[in-house]
């Protein structure tokens, strides 16, 4: 038990011993009964050094405290399109104020899952709760508490940036003055203030994307769904938007549920869920996944087709990451030494990769994650070809 005397306001403190380490829940004047119990976890706690002991403080903002429980709860969800299964017995839970990443190859069912969460599609089976409300029975409440960035464009490109945002504000019932303020705020965030009156059709792809993200934030949602939000954005803009989103997370408990193809963005997520062919195949913090499932890989390109075949025969558990390149699971340094002794002079290229999320993904699905934009991949391939010819 932690002595509570050190805190000025005893009434707002609430102790729980549900976890091995003591947590203090809620720094608020609300009576403790109003807080949900049992939802303390790594993701909605901030660690603080208190009285020489490391304890965790649960920072739970007022508006989200009204409904206890996780931001998103999915149990045994199944979804079919005609006869084709898109989601198969999916269960997951996203803590409030956390950042959750969905990772999966094309056609895995990420967009389908988000559509169900956003009330756009009805599940065939299973329970889905968003912001504490059932998506079927209380879809209006759900829609009021979520913001959405779609994978595909969803702007009216014949209207100006401001008109698009104004439309959004009206449809979400935001009154006039607040609407104007919100438009200023979000346009500034995505640095489109100078393009306020420009027709969206004249925007570049990245600018449109930024405008969509701005729009999704306008009505201050509790939960934000981002379906591959940063495809086509330059690194600077991406960093700026993530910084803003993370600040919103800290300050008002915004929950983020993202699908992304940028591994480096996933590394920052609190939890990652890997999904393939409609099923969840792994879930955990990035550290956990790498520790438990991560493998080192040796990425190699053989010098000749004959060598390639020899490599395949010697290492049947290797994955083909491209027509030429192979990823061979590498145990440790000894493995590499042994490998080099055998094949060292029959390679054109070799790269050692320690445990990464890409590696986790590769060993789980046998495929590389298509994490690069097409342009980038094309450029790499061309560069490789040029190097090969020389």
């Amino acid at each position: 038990m932690i002595p509570a005397a050190g805190f000025p306001n005893r009434q707002g403190l609430h102790f729980t011993r549900a976890s091995p380490r003591p947590y203090i829940c809620g720094l608020s004047l609300r009576p403790p009964e109003e807080y949900g119990r049992g939802e303390v976890n790594q993701t909605n706690c901030q660690e603080a050094d208190f009285a020489g002991r490391s304890i965790s403080l649960l920072i739970q903002p007022h508006e989200t405290a009204e409904r206890a429980g996780p931001a998103v709860r999915v149990e045994h969800l199944s979804l079919k399109y005609g006869g084709q299964v898109a989601l198969d017995d999916v269960s997951l839970s996203v803590g409030r104020g956390s950042s959750f990443a969905l990772l999966g190859p094309n056609g895995a069912g990420k967009t389908s899952l988000i559509s169900v969460l956003a009330t756009l599609r009805d599940a065939d089976k299973g329970l889905v709760e968003v912001a504490g409300h059932d998506v079927c029975r209380a879809s209006r409440q759900v829609r009021l508490s979520i913001g959405m960035v779609f994978q595909d464009p969803s702007l009216d490109d014949r209207l100006s940036a401001e008109e698009n945002l104004d439309f959004h504000g009206r449809v979400y019932g935001i009154p006039g003055r607040l609407r104007a303020e919100a438009i200023d705020r979000v346009l500034d965030l995505v640095e489109l203030t100078g393009w306020r009156e420009a027709i969206v059709r004249s925007f570049s792809g990245g600018m449109k994307r930024r405008l969509e993200i701005a729009r999704a934030l306008m009505h201050k949602p509790q939960i934000l769904f981002l379906d591959e939000p940063t495809v086509g954005l330059d690194a600077q803009t991406r960093a700026r938007i993530w910084a803003y989103l993370n600040r919103q997370r800290r300050e008002r408990g915004l929950t983020l549920l993202t699908t992304t193809h940028y591994i480096e963005e996933v590394e920052d997520a609190d939890r990652i869920c890997i999904i393939d062919k409609g099923r969840i195949i792994a879930e955990g913090t990035p550290g956990q996944l790498k520790r438990e499932l991560g493998q080192s890989f040796l990425h190699v390109v053989a010098a000749t087709p004959a060598d390639h075949a020899a490599l395949l025969a010697a290492y049947p558990d290797s994955h083909a990451v491209s027509p030429e390149a192979l990823a061979i699971p590498a145990g440790d340094e000894d493995f590499v030494a042994g490998f080099l002794a055998r094949f060292g002079n029959r390679l054109r290229e070799m790269r050692f990769e320690g445990p990464t999320l890409e590696g986790v993904f590769l060993s789980l699905t046998g495929r590389v994650l298509r994490d690069r934009t097409d342009g980038e991949r094309e450029a790499q391939r061309n560069a490789g070809r040029r190097a090969g010819r020389r």
């Binding site: 464009p153 969803s154 008109e163 504000g169 009206r170 449809v171």
Partner: protein, 269 residues
């Protein structure tokens, strides 16, 4: 209810977007102006002398109106039909270009979204109908202020019903290209088979009518709801009715509710 004001705000927002799009669409605006001009200037003026039966020396007035006067209300209805039914393109556009999803994840109920859209489309169509009213003097139709007000109110109701009909059509059609052909095959037959460009002389009995027109055409005209819609507008604008005017008003009223409910069923799927 406290959630009513936000919904009104949302309906207004949806309406506003339709209006902005209609006023910015130069092609649609051009069509709205040129269509009545062509019909009245060329067809109306061209057929005007024949309407009186003066051609073969014998003067027989079919109706106590000139052809231009007779045609004028029908051209208004034609303009409204085009704009309302073409409104379906806006619905298809939203669906194909993803904007519909932005609306469907918003907290607005579906009926409110549809109401906003339909009100917007109906306003634009009424605007195009009102454009024709400006040509009234040219067609020898003199209008009093209450007549104009009555006509605009009626035109709005008709536009609303037809716009809902357009949304229903949008639910059945998958592509823009398909819709262009489709709308013409719907609008023009409905229009021509509605006693819009030629009168059914009300003084004739049914047997006499059948003597001058083939039976199937008369059946078609009687079965066509646009016949009564045009007739009711004639009643308002030139005080001439071939049928009891309440049939037209009743049909428009039923159309507003019926098509709205039907459109609601197909909207957003």
């Amino acid at each position: 209810m406290s959630s009513f004001l936000p919904i009104l705000r949302g309906i207004h927002g949806v309406w506003l977007r339709e209006i902005m799009r209609a006023t910015r669409d130069k092609g649609q605006l051009l069509g709205g102006v040129s269509r009545p001009l062509i019909w009245l200037l060329i067809l109306g003026v061209g057929l005007n002398p024949y309407f009186r039966g003066e051609v073969f020396g014998e003067v027989r007035l079919v109706l106590p109106y000139s052809y231009l006067q007779f045609l004028f209300p029908a051209v208004i209805v034609l303009n409204i039909m085009y704009t309302s039914i073409q409104f379906a393109v806006s619905v298809i556009w939203d669906r194909e270009f993803g904007f519909l999803r932005e609306i469907l994840v918003s907290p607005m109920p579906r009926w409110a979204v549809l109401l906003g859209k339909v009100l917007g489309g109906a306003t634009a169509a009424t605007g195009h109908g009102t454009l024709v009213l400006i040509l009234a003097r040219f067609a020898d139709v003199t209008l009093t202020a209450p007549q104009v007000a009555q006509a605009i109110a009626y035109m709005f109701a008709l536009s609303f019903a037809l716009t809902c009909f357009g949304v229903v059509l949008a639910g059945k059609v998958r592509s823009f290209e398909g819709f262009g052909v489709f709308s013409n095959t719907v609008i023009l037959p409905l229009y021509f088979a509605s006693s819009s460009v030629f009168p059914l002389d009300p003084s004739l009995t049914r047997t006499q009518l059948v003597a001058s027109y083939p039976e199937w055409l008369i059946m078609l005209i009687y079965a066509n709801p646009i016949t009564y819609a045009v007739d009711a507008l004639r009643g308002i604008l030139i005080n001439f009715n071939q049928f009891p005017p309440h049939i037209g008003f009743g049909l428009v009223g039923i159309g507003m509710i019926g098509f709205f409910l039907w459109a609601l069923r197909s909207f957003g799927r």
